[in-house]
Symmetry: C2
Subunit: 312 residues, 2 copies
Amino acid sequence: MPAPLLLVTSLDPEDEAAWREALATAMPGESVATPADPQAMRRAEIAIVANPPPGALAGLPKLAWIHSLWAGVDRLLLDATLPPVPVIRLVDPALARAMAEAVAAAVLHLHRDVPRYAAQQRRGEWRQHDVRAAQERSVTILGMGEMGRASARLLRAIGFPVRGWSRSGAGPDGIPVLSGTEGLARALGSADILVNLLPLTAETRGILDQAAFARLPYGAGIVNFGRGAHVVETDLIAALDSGAIGHAILDVFETEPLPTGHPFWSHPNVTLLPHIAAPTSRPSAAAIVAQAVRSYRETGLIPAGVERTRGY
Amino acid sequence: MPAPLLLVTSLDPEDEAAWREALATAMPGESVATPADPQAMRRAEIAIVANPPPGALAGLPKLAWIHSLWAGVDRLLLDATLPPVPVIRLVDPALARAMAEAVAAAVLHLHRDVPRYAAQQRRGEWRQHDVRAAQERSVTILGMGEMGRASARLLRAIGFPVRGWSRSGAGPDGIPVLSGTEGLARALGSADILVNLLPLTAETRGILDQAAFARLPYGAGIVNFGRGAHVVETDLIAALDSGAIGHAILDVFETEPLPTGHPFWSHPNVTLLPHIAAPTSRPSAAAIVAQAVRSYRETGLIPAGVERTRGY
């Protein structure tokens, strides 16, 4: 009988139990244990993690690899006690589709002036503004991973001119993708709407700061569906207050849940979402983890993982 | 020298002047007059109209046809003094694209629970709700003209299961389209989100009433980008108050501008737009009218018009 899979999270007990059940359902031949089981701690080769408490994975004698239930592993990699085994992040086509839908909703929200009309409705004001066509509104997506590519394809299908920016400069067919510092300046300069889907790494932390905002066309819209720490929050508030940025749709924050009284809550030019752009789907994620575990049991090969130095 | 084109509107003077200039620019060889010019009234064969005052087109001795600058001609056809000449309505691909973008924005707004998160933001409440995929959200579009077809194609590209309902039962490739009373009942019964793009005719006036709302799945969303008179407003308010309809996005109303104090202004489950879903683009509309006039001058043939008894 193979060693149990070790599920390590800091989720609330109900949430963790739901994950345990989803994983058990997807892998009827495996047993799923938690750190409360000392025998599992001694024997486990595979840890399946969702926000594991720092240090929780240290000192597991047999640990061979770690599968994250999240797509973003930035928080996991910050744990200095993380053993030097491969880390696999969740790459889920269903997640990429959900993100592309969220991006399309956010971009169309800004494109069609929904925040302005909502403010008019609150004032009881009937006033029409010029409507631009999607083809006249350029969108730049920072980050061309699975989610960035799916979003770029969907925005292009709607009719927006789309360009990307990524470390490697690679993207889907027909989408121009820039890279490097020079490329970032150009990508920002033409962005009527800027969408951030970058992974959080040492290079991308704080990338959306005063200097970046100053490169955007005056009054541009911003969508942050990456990580809160990509944005220098005080710089963003200053840019919103000055009108340099017209409106921001924010799903992620330095501290989550966003603290009571944070200026984003009540800023008239902020649309705030509680980190729901692309939530992991339990059945879908469990099926993907199950596939990786099955492949490991059959072949002994560990699935391709995150490049630690790159951060994703 | 051909008879002048007669521009007849009830727009404000600045707006009418802008139309006159757009038409003159699109047709340098033609002269564009208004009813203030008695000689033009005697000679005009072609009237170009935008909300003409009732009776304004009666008694023009040479009038051969009328081109509307709007896509909807319901108000024009209600004028009992309208002479029995062909009426051409604006069919503009740019207008269909603008409508499809507006429909996509509205459907994604409802699909991604934007009104609910906006209410939470106002309360300072951080709470996540389940996210459904587009493929799990059925959309029904009433009306399969140029705008309905463009909208159906775009919603399908985003991933929504789409069906249509129309008088003829015809639609674009791969979109199932129902017709008739029985078909309407089925189209409503499966609509998580209902989009109205029908022309306003004797048959469609008041089509969205208590009986129609009762056929929708409980909590369905509604988007009315057709005409205000398609909706029985008191029935809609009752359905919103009971929760039978979860949220309504309304761009058109029985009376426009929507009167101060109308319950739609402040209803928590209404998103109100000031008739901006698909505004006519002056240069685009002027170019289309110019093409029709040029063809008439060259061939003497009047472009295909509205079927008066059908109403569009």
